[in-house]
């Protein structure tokens, strides 16, 4: 038990969650008789959900700061129609269309951020209004028509990395991506160990670290193979690459920058944050602005995948994104949540959708199951919170706490109720 705990302990906070998602994928793999882990299906999962996952990245910051954004689907839709029209009718080259789209997102985000942060209208109301406003704007601008987009945009939403170089039997771009991912994993782990050693903490045993890196590397190797070995011309999707880059950037922003730290502080205790000199208004403005920019990016990726912008794009996306964030362990009251957790939460929903569909379960039952999964995940969080135990994600992310117990020698005796349940990943 202890040794297993040591493998999961330390830096790779998200390890446990990756593990849970993996278990779900493998379960569906068995139940569907091997239809899940095929190249085509995995590529479809990424392509068909990348826009929701992009939204989830922005949404988790909004929710951590204690707000909500209901307008993301409409913002994506209005961006989509503007980009499509700009390229088809207004003479914009495709790249200028993308920049215009991101600019539209920034303007909308600045508007909503201004209302939330400086005027003080609650995010729920501001963005509920925005949801109607920008849905209407989409239909007004496009006159409820469907406008096609050029190949370059389609490449963003549904394209694959190019093939090059020697014949390795796999797509070489995907192969390279896998190699880089493993190298980054090893680099991160060694850096973390070095930092722990400098701080004088008792480092996790080497064998545990090696085992952890080996398991994660194996997962990456497996994914590289699945994505790279599809029919010729396919690979890891471009939309997936965009998502990966965003995930890395935003994980960094939320964990390692002052801006990210302040987003958590504002959501945790606004008054205390203000007394400490955190600029509450700027932080709120940032999360709302950021959300709309990401929503516009999601809109562009989506019109690429669906080859056109239509009047009903983005319907209910806000709900998918919010569900992903809460399954990913965020708290409704704010202050809690992680970027990677939200992406994994979104992937859990995506895999559920996909697996149930492959099993031939109707969309009626699928929706009910998804609803129950969301409810169960959040109920588990709430239950554990009232019991003074960490949330489901906290449970999976136990390693951090365990690491501190290790370095501190003993738990603080003055805190008799220090939560120390056996994490699920250990058993």
């Amino acid at each position: 038990m202890k040794s297993l705990g040591q493998i999961f302990s330390g830096g790779a906070r998200q390890f446990g969650m990756v593990f849970a998602l993996l278990a779900l994928v493998l379960a569906f793999q068995v139940w569907t008789g091997g239809k899940v882990l095929t190249s085509t299906n995995m590529q479809n999962i990424i392509n068909g959900n990348s826009y929701v996952l992009i939204l989830a990245i922005g949404m988790v910051l909004v929710i951590i700061a204690g707000h909500i954004d209901l307008s993301v689907g409409s913002v994506a839709a209005v961006t989509g129609i503007i980009v499509a029209l700009a390229i088809r009718d207004w003479g914009f080259p495709w790249w200028a269309g993308i920049l215009l789209g991101l600019g539209v997102g920034a303007v909308i985000g600045a508007w909503q951020g201004f209302l939330v942060a400086y005027v003080g209208i609650p995010g729920f109301i501001t963005t509920l209004a925005g949801m109607m406003l920008f849905r209407g704007a989409n239909q007004a601008i496009g006159q409820s028509n469907t406008i096609p987009v050029p190949d370059e945009i389609q490449y963003l939403g549904a394209g694959y990395l190019p093939e090059w170089g020697p014949g390795t039997g796999l797509n070489n771009s995907t192969l390279l991506l896998g190699v880089v991912a493993i190298a980054a994993l090893v680099w991160r782990e060694s850096r973390r160990r070095a930092s722990e050693r400098r701080l004088g903490a008792e480092p996790v045993p080497m064998w545990a670290v090696v085992t952890r890196v080996a398991i994660l590397s194996l997962v990456i190797v497996g994914l590289t193979y699945v994505f790279g070995s599809g029919r010729v011309g396919t690979s890891f999707p471009v939309a997936g690459v965009i998502l990966l880059v965003l995930a890395l950037v935003y994980a960094f922003v939320s964990n390692r920058t002052i801006t990210g730290r302040h987003v958590y502080a504002v959501g945790g205790n606004r008054a205390a944050a203000a007394l400490s000199g955190v600029n509450i208004k700027r932080t709120n403005f940032f999360v709302m602005l950021n959300m709309s920019v990401l929503a516009s990016l999601a809109g562009i990726v989506f019109i690429g995948r669906s080859t056109a912008s239509g009047p009903f794009d983005g319907t209910n996306w806000e709900l998918d994104a919010i569900a992903a964030v809460f399954i990913g362990g965020a708290a409704v009251s704010g202050g809690v949540g992680t970027v990677v957790g939200s992406i994994i939460g979104g992937l859990v929903m995506a895999v559920l959708n996909n697996g149930l569909q492959l099993m031939g379960v109707g969309s009626d039952s699928t929706q009910m199951i998804k609803g129950l999964v969301l409810l169960a995940a959040v109920a588990f969080d709430v239950y554990n919170k009232t019991q003074g135990r960490p949330s489901i994600i906290g449970l999976l992310l136990q390693n951090r706490r365990r690491q501190t117990l290790l370095e501190g020698g003993t738990a603080d005796p003055a805190v008799p109720d220090a939560p120390a349940p056996e994490p699920a990943t250990r058993s």
């Binding site: 205790n269 007394l275 501190t404 020698g409 003055a414 939560p419």
Partner: protein, 280 residues
């Protein structure tokens, strides 16, 4: 009682001006690190502070006691730069200063810990300690987590808080430990004077003892401490000197070692004839 000045009135007994510290120097022979001179603060027609004087020396705990509405918290807010005096002035090391904002107070080396522990429950100990003053690897760069952890441990060790892990989130800590964190937070800027406004108000007996231990620790570290409190037992346990406020005015100054609780209570309540010994 105006040590080093001409305001010591007739009849003040010698024991009220004996040296307060054990380093052989009389406290009164040194320049106070923080002094309030005739500070007055009015709210509409009420004078919350009426020509209040207060001296705080390095390595000294001055307790500020008084009934509700005596002006204790107003004084804390003036020193913290949250409010400006309407008359009178504040000196540091004998030189007049203007504390125009909380930031100015920090810059002058005055840290104030207010009554409610204002912490973000969802953040770790180290994140709370450095909230709003995060250290970065380089200007505009990412957070320097390592340096913050190291400095946080240093400060918590200096204060002997018994908090072993700076990575724990604050909601896992006891109230006493949370109060210790707020005091440690004040130490981040390396102040010379710390004002503690009712630090033990909401704490259990054991936790109160822990916080009082911290207060003596601050003195050992060479800081001047202003301890605002209701609880005379606490005050007499750790303070070198007790200053009484009543209706916004100075109403007696007592040497903590040689004064009884009854004398101080009398000064707080304004019982007639009770002010003799320390009356100025």
């Amino acid at each position: 009682m105006r040590r080093g000045s001409v305001l010591v009135p007739e009849g003040v007994q010698e024991e009220t001006v004996v040296p307060m510290t054990t380093d052989g120097l009389g406290a009164w022979s040194r320049t106070p690190v923080l002094s309030l001179r005739q500070v007055t603060r009015r709210y509409r027609r009420v004078e919350a502070l009426d020509a209040v004087d207060l001296d705080v020396h390095a390595r000294e705990v001055v307790a500020l006691v008084g009934d509700n509405g005596a002006g204790k918290s107003t004084l804390a807010r003036v020193v913290a730069g949250v409010e400006q005096p309407d008359a009178g002035f504040v000196e540091m090391d004998g030189a007049p200063v203007t504390i125009s904002s909380p930031g100015a107070a920090h810059a002058l080396g005055i840290a104030t810990v207010f009554q409610d522990p204002a912490l973000c429950d969802n953040l770790s100990v180290v994140a709370n300690l450095f909230l709003g003053r995060e250290l970065r690897v380089r200007p505009g760069g990412p957070l320097d987590e390592e340096r913050m952890v190291r400095e946080a441990r240093q400060i918590l060790d200096d204060l002997t808080t018994g908090i072993t892990s700076v990575h724990r989130t604050v909601n896992e800590l006891s109230n006493g430990q949370r109060q210790a964190i707020t005091i440690a937070r004040a130490m981040i800027t390396r102040p010379r004077v710390v004002v503690l406004d009712e630090p033990t108000a909401a704490l259990s007996v054991v936790q109160t003892a822990e916080v009082l231990q911290l207060v003596t620790r601050l003195r050992e570290m060479g800081l001047g401490v202003v301890l605002i409190s209701h609880d005379l037992a606490d005050v007499l346990a750790v303070a070198d000197r007790v200053e009484v406020l009543r209706h916004g005015r100075n109403n007696g100054s007592f040497d903590a070692a040689s004064s009884s609780q009854e004398e101080i209570v009398a000064a707080i309540t304004g019982a007639p004839g009770a002010r003799g010994r320390a009356f100025r």
